[in-house]
C-alpha cells in the first residue's frame, strides 16, 4: 500500500545551521508515528515544512504517491494535513465555535455567521471521537486539556486526515495526557494518520506504532516500541549513553531551614490563589511541589521569594520572619531562586553572560567598589563559572540572549548555586531543556542537597518530582492537599491527586492497581 505521506530528501538550511539534512519519512494510513529528538534536533523545522510555514531547500513531499507543493498552512489544510501546535492557536475571547470555524466559516444570507449550524457540526465531531467539547464555551474559561481538544476539532472540522501533534503533552497533567492518548488512538482507529513529535521517552513507548529518531537534522534510526526501551531511545537521541536515573543516596534531613504557615496569597483580581498553605523544608532535603500549572505554585514561589505580597500567614527562613522582606533581604539571608520563566525573570537577555552572573551580588565587594563596578573581577568570576558549570558560550561578554535554552539555564544555575546558600527554590528548572542538560541540572541540585542545602522544587513534570524529591507536596487549586514522603506514594497516586482526587481515594485507588497484577 502506498504510504499516505512520504517525505523524500527534505533539506532545509538556515544561516549557519543545517536544520534538516536529507530526511526521508513514510507515514502509513492509520498509524501513529513518533518523531523523537532533542530540542533543536530539527523536528519542528521538518513539521513546519510539512505545514507550509517553511519551504524546503531540497526534497519533495508526496501525498498518496502524488507530489504536492505546500506553500502555506492553507495549502496544507487543503491537502489534508493539520497541526496541533505546541502553543495553541486559539483566541481566548472567542467561543469554541468561533475558533473552530474561523477561516472556514459557515455562513448564511451572504456573509452572516451561522453559529448554530457550525456548533451542530462541532457537536457531531465531538461525539464521534468522544472529545467532550461544548461549542458555546469561551476558550479563556476552558482548562488546557479541553483547549487542546478544540485544536483537534479545528483540524477534523477541516477534514484533515494527517494530524501532526507538536509536543502535545507539555501542558497536560498525566491524566490529561492519558486521555489525549486514547483520543489519538481513536483517531487512528478511524483511519486518521498521526505524527507525534516529542522528546518524552515514556510517551513514545506508550502510544506510538513506529518511532523515528532525529539528531542534528538527520534521521539516526527507526524502531518500534517493542524493540526499544527508554535507555536505547535516549542514547539514540543524544548520541551517547545517558544516565536517566538520578543517583541519589538516602539522607536523614537536618534542621528546619524554611517554613510556611497558613499562607494565603491573592492575585490582582483578589482571587485566592494560594489557600492556607503550610509546608516545611529541612536541611539536606528536597521537597517537590507537584501540580498542574496554574494551581498556585507560581504565586506560592513568588510569595516565598518576596516578589508578591501575601495576604495572610507567615514565612520563616533560618528562624527569621521573611513574610514582608524584600527579595534582596531574602537573597542575602542565603536563599537562591531559579525562576520559572528564565527569559523573563531569570536573566537580563541583552546583558552579557558575565553581568548576568553577578545580578545578585554586583553591588557588593569585590564586584564593586563604592559605585564603580569592577569589570576585571566580574570577568574573572565569569570565566571561572563558565568553566565550572560548563556553560557553552563564545565568550563571557556574549549577550545571554544568543545562548541556547540549556546554556541560559546553566547561567542561572551557576549564579544561584555558586553563592553560599542554605535554601534553594527551583521552579521548573529543566523546562524545555534537552536530556543532556536535564541530567546535568538534576545532578547539580542533588549535589546541593547532599551538601546540606534545603531545596524546594516546583515542577509540573511528574517524572522530575518523583526522581528528585525526598518528600512530595501536591498542590491543587491553591491548596496543599497532600504532603508525603516519596517512598510512600506512587506516581499514579500523585497524578490522581494533581487532578483533584482526594488523597484518601487516590491512595486507595493506587493500591488497587498495585495489587491487581498479583491477583
Amino acid at each position: 500500500m502506498t504510504p499516505i505521506l512520504q517525505l523524500k530528501g527534505i533539506t532545509k538550511r538556515f544561516p549557519g545551521v543545517l536544520a534538516n539534512d536529507h530526511i526521508d519519512l513514510d507515514l502509513r494510513k492509520g498509524e501513529i508515528l513518533a518523531l523523537l529528538g532533542e530540542n533543536g534536533a530539527g523536528k519542528t523545522t521538518l513539521m513546519n515544512i510539512l505545514y507550509g510555514l517553511y519551504q524546503p531547500d531540497e526534497g519533495e513531499i508526496l501525498i498518496e504517491g502524488e507530489k504536492v507543493t505546500i506553500d502555506s498552512p492553507t495549502d496544507a489544510i487543503k491537502t489534508g494535513i493539520g497541526m496541533v501546535h505546541q502553543h495553541f492557536m486559539l483566541i481566548p475571547v472567542f467561543t469554541v465555535t468561533e475558533n473552530v470555524m474561523l477561516g472556514e466559516e459557515t455562513i448564511k444570507y451572504g456573509d452572516f455567521l451561522d453559529r448554530k449550524k457550525a456548533a451542530k457540526r462541532i457537536m457531531d465531531i465531538s461525539e464521534k471521537y468522544n472529545l467532550q467539547v461544548a461549542p458555546n464555551d469561551y476558550i479563556r474559561d476552558l482548562p488546557v486539556g479541553v483547549q487542546q481538544r478544540v485544536e483537534i476539532i479545528k483540524l477534523l472540522y477541516r477534514d484533515a486526515e494527517i494530524l501532526i501533534f507538536d509536543e502535545p503533552t507539555a501542558v497536560l497533567t498525566p491524566q490529561e495526557a492519558d486521555e489525549l492518548f486514547s483520543i489519538m488512538r481513536s483517531l487512528s482507529d478511524q483511519g486518521n494518520s498521526i505524527i507525534f513529535i516529542t522528546h518524552k521517552l515514556r510517551e513514545v513507548l506508550d502510544i506510538s506504532d513506529r518511532i523515528m529518531v532525529i539528531r542534528r537534522g538527520a534521521v539516526v534510526g527507526e524502531t518500534t516500541p517493542d524493540q526499544a526501551d527508554k535507555n536505547s531511545l535516549a542514547a539514540m537521541m543524544v548520541g551517547r549513553d545517558v544516565n536517566l536515573e538520578v543517583e541519589k543516596t538516602d539522607k536523614e534531613p537536618g534542621d528546619l531551614v524554611f517554613s510556611v504557615k497558613n499562607l494565603i496569597v491573592a492575585d490582582k483580581f483578589q482571587n485566592i490563589v494560594v489557600d492556607n498553605a503550610s509546608l516545611d523544608v529541612h536541611a539536606g532535603e528536597i521537597v517537590g511541589i507537584a501540580g498542574v500549572q496554574g494551581n498556585g505554585q507560581t504565586e506560592l514561589v513568588e510569595a516565598i521569594t518576596g516578589l508578591r505580597k501575601s495576604a495572610e500567614g507567615k514565612i520563616t527562613l533560618l528562624s527569621q520572619d521573611i513574610t514582608k522582606a524584600s527579595p534582596r533581604q531574602i537573597t542575602e539571608l542565603g536563599s537562591a531562586h531559579v525562576p520559572e520563566d528564565r527569559q523573563a525573570d531569570g536573566l537580563v537577555l541583552p546583558f552579557p553572560v558575565a553581568e548576568n552572573l553577578v545580578l545578585c551580588t554586583y553591588y557588593k565587594e569585590p564586584f564593586s567598589k563604592g559605585v564603580i563596578l569592577q569589570y576585571k573581577t566580574i570577568l574573572d568570576h565569569a570565566e571561572k563559572l563558565i568553566e565550572d558549570f560548563d556553560i557553552r558560550t563564545p565568550s563571557a561578554m556574549t549577550p545571554v540572549s544568543s545562548l541556547s535554552g540549556g546554556n541560559q539555564q546553566k547561567v542561572i544555575i551557576a549564579r544561584e548555586l555558586s553563592r553560599p546558600i542554605d535554601f534553594l527554590v527551583a521552579s521548573q528548572p529543566t523546562r524545555g531543556l534537552d536530556v543532556g542538560s536535564i541530567e546535568y541540572i538534576h545532578k547539580r541540585i542533588v549535589q546541593k542537597r547532599d551538601e546540606g542545602c534545603a531545596v524546594l522544587l516546583v515542577s509540573p513534570e511528574l517524572d522530575e518530582i518523583m526522581e528528585l524529591s525526598d518528600r512530595i507536596v501536591v498542590m491543587y487549586r491553591g491548596q496543599i492537599i497532600a504532603d508525603l514522603p516519596n517512598k510512600e506514594i506512587t506516581k499514579e497516586q500523585v497524578g490522581l491527586m494533581m487532578a483533584g482526587v482526594l488523597p484518601e481515594e487516590a491512595l486507595a485507588e493506587g493500591d488497587q492497581h498495585a495489587v491487581e497484577p498479583a491477583l
Binding site: 483566541i91 475571547v93 477561516g103 476552558l142 485566592i272 483533584g500
Partner: protein
C-alpha cells in the same frame, strides 16, 4: 476522569475590593455633601429653575417649560446621594457599584445646572441637542479607532485624519457648491492619510504611535499652510454649503426626544446608522470575525488561511473613511467654514471614548455622548453668566473618565495584539 475536564475556578475573596467599596462610598457622600453645603446653602427658598424643553428654531414636537422649585430639588438630590453613599459604605452595592457612582455623578451635574439656573431659564433640550451634535465627531473618532484597533493597528492619527478631511471637505464643497461632493472629498483625503499610516505601520512595521503622531503633525501643518495661503485669502474657497436639518417624518413629533434625535443634522443619523452597521458587521459576520481574529491572535488567523496584512489594510482604510466623515462634520455639518485647528483634539478624545467604551461600538457611543454633554454644559454656562470658567466645566468629563477608568482596572479589554506588527516567521 471528570475532575480534570472542569475549569479551575478560584473562589473570590471579595466581590468588589474593600478599598474600592470605601472610595466609591466616600465619593458619593462627598457629592451629597457638596450639593447640600455649596448649592443648597447659597440658594433662596423661593427661587425657581426653569428648563426649556424645546430646542430653539424647532416648530414640531414642541412642549411646555419645566419649572422646578430650586431649593427643594437640590435638597432631594443631596439626600438621595447621601443615602446611596451611606448604603455603599455600610453594605455595598456589589456589582452595581459603578452604575450608582455614575448616577451620583449625574445628580451632581443636574443639581449644578439647577443651582446655576436659579431664577433664570435654561434651554435644557437645546443643550442636549448640542450635546448630541458635539458628540458626533467624538463618537465617529471612536468608531474609527475601534475599526482599526480591533484589527490590531493602533490609530492615533485620527485627529490628523479628521483635520485634513474637514479642510478638504470645505475646499471641495466650496468649489462644487455641493455638500455631498465635499463629504466625499473629505473622506478621500482621510483615507489617503490612513493609507500612509497603514503602509508605515503594517508594511514597514514602524512603531504605530510614532507613525500616527507623524501624520497628526503633518496634517496640522499642511492644513494650516493651505488655509493661510488659500482658504483665508479667498473666501470663495471657504464657504461650503451646510447639510440642512432633516426632520424624520413621525419620529420628529415625539416630545423632547423628537427634536433632539429625529430633527437634526444628517451626521447624527450617520452616527447611529454606523453604530448598527459596525456592531452587526463586527460581531455577526464572517468579515467581522476575521477582522477581530487578526487583532487578537494574528498568527492563529494566519495558520487558518486568513490574510493578516490585507485584513489590517482594509480595517485601517475603513477607519479612515469613518474619521473622514467625522472630520467633514466640522465644516459641512456644523461651522460652515474651515479654521485652523478646527478639530480641537476631538480625534484624541474619540480614542479616549473608545477606551472608555471598552472597544465596543455601543460603549463608544455612550462615552461620546457623555463627553459631548460635558462640552455642551461648558458652552451653555458662559451664556448664563456663570462665574465658573467654561474651561473648568470642560475638564470635568475627563476627570470623571480618569476616576472611572481607574475603577475599571483589569476590566478593559483591548484586543490582545493591538499595536503589534505581524511578520511571518
Amino acid at each position: 476522569m471528570s475532575t480534570s475536564t472542569q475549569a479551575i475556578k478560584h473562589e473570590r475573596i471579595y466581590e468588589i475590593s474593600p478599598t474600592r467599596k470605601l472610595v466609591m462610598g466616600i465619593i458619593e457622600i462627598i457629592i451629597g455633601a457638596f450639593i447640600f453645603f455649596v448649592f443648597v446653602q447659597t440658594v433662596s427658598g423661593a427661587a425657581k429653575t426653569t428648563f426649556v424643553m424645546t430646542p430653539g428654531g424647532i416648530d414640531i414636537g414642541k412642549v411646555g417649560n419645566w419649572v422646578l422649585p430650586t431649593r427643594i430639588t437640590l435638597i432631594l438630590l443631596a439626600v438621595l446621594a447621601l443615602i446611596i453613599g451611606a448604603y455603599q459604605l455600610i453594605k455595598g452595592f456589589g456589582r452595581s457599584t459603578n452604575a450608582l457612582v455614575g448616577l451620583c455623578g449625574l445628580f451632581l451635574v443636574f443639581s449644578f445646572l439647577t443651582w446655576q439656573t436659579a431664577d433664570q431659564s435654561l434651554n435644557l433640550a437645546g443643550m442636549l441637542t448640542s450635546a448630541v451634535l458635539l458628540a458626533v465627531p467624538i463618537t465617529l473618532g471612536a468608531f474609527s479607532g475601534l475599526l482599526s484597533e480591533r484589527a490590531g493597528v493602533i490609530n492615533i492619527a485620527i485627529e490628523g485624519l479628521m483635520l485634513m478631511a474637514s479642510m478638504v471637505g470645505a475646499l471641495i464643497g466650496s468649489i462644487t457648491q455641493n455638500a455631498w461632493i465635499g463629504l466625499l472629498g473629505g473622506i478621500l483625503a482621510s483615507v489617503l492619510l490612513a493609507g500612509i499610516h497603514a503602509v508605515l505601520s503594517i508594511k514597514y512595521r514602524i512603531n504605530q504611535v510614532i507613525s500616527g503622531t507623524v501624520i497628526n503633525i503633518f496634517a496640522a501643518g499642511m492644513t494650516a499652510f493651505l488655509s493661510q495661503k488659500f482658504l483665508q485669502t479667498n473666501q470663495a474657497l471657504n464657504s461650503p454649503p451646510l447639510f440642512p436639518r432633516i426632520p424624520i417624518p413621525g419620529l420628529a413629533h415625539i416630545p423632547v426626544i423628537g427634536p433632539i434625535f429625529f430633527n437634526t443634522n444628517i451626521f447624527v443619523y450617520i452616527m447611529f446608522i454606523l453604530l448598527i452597521i459596525i456592531q452587526v458587521a463586527l460581531f455577526s459576520t464572517r468579515w467581522g470575525l476575521r477582522l477581530r481574529s487578526v487583532g487578537e491572535h494574528p498568527k492563529a488567523a494566519d495558520t487558518l488561511g486568513i490574510k493578516v496584512k490585507p485584513t489590517r489594510y482594509m480595517a485601517v482604510l475603513l477607519s479612515g473613511v469613518v474619521a473622514g466623515i467625522g472630520g467633514t462634520f466640522f465644516t459641512l455639518g456644523s461651522v460652515g467654514r474651515f479654521e485652523e485647528g478646527i478639530s480641537a483634539g476631538k480625534g484624541f478624545i474619540g480614542l479616549a471614548a473608545m477606551i472608555f467604551g471598552n472597544w465596543t461600538p455601543i460603549g463608544s457611543l455612550g462615552a461620546g455622548l457623555l463627553f459631548g454633554f460635558a462640552d455642551a454644559i461648558g458652552s451653555k454656562l458662559s451664556l448664563l453668566g456663570s462665574n465658573i470658567p467654561a474651561q473648568f466645566m470642560g475638564m470635568t468629563p475627563y476627570l470623571i473618565t480618569m476616576i472611572v477608568l481607574a475603577g475599571f482596572i483589569g476590566k478593559g479589554h483591548a484586543p490582545a495584539a493591538d499595536g503589534e506588527p505581524y511578520e511571518k516567521e
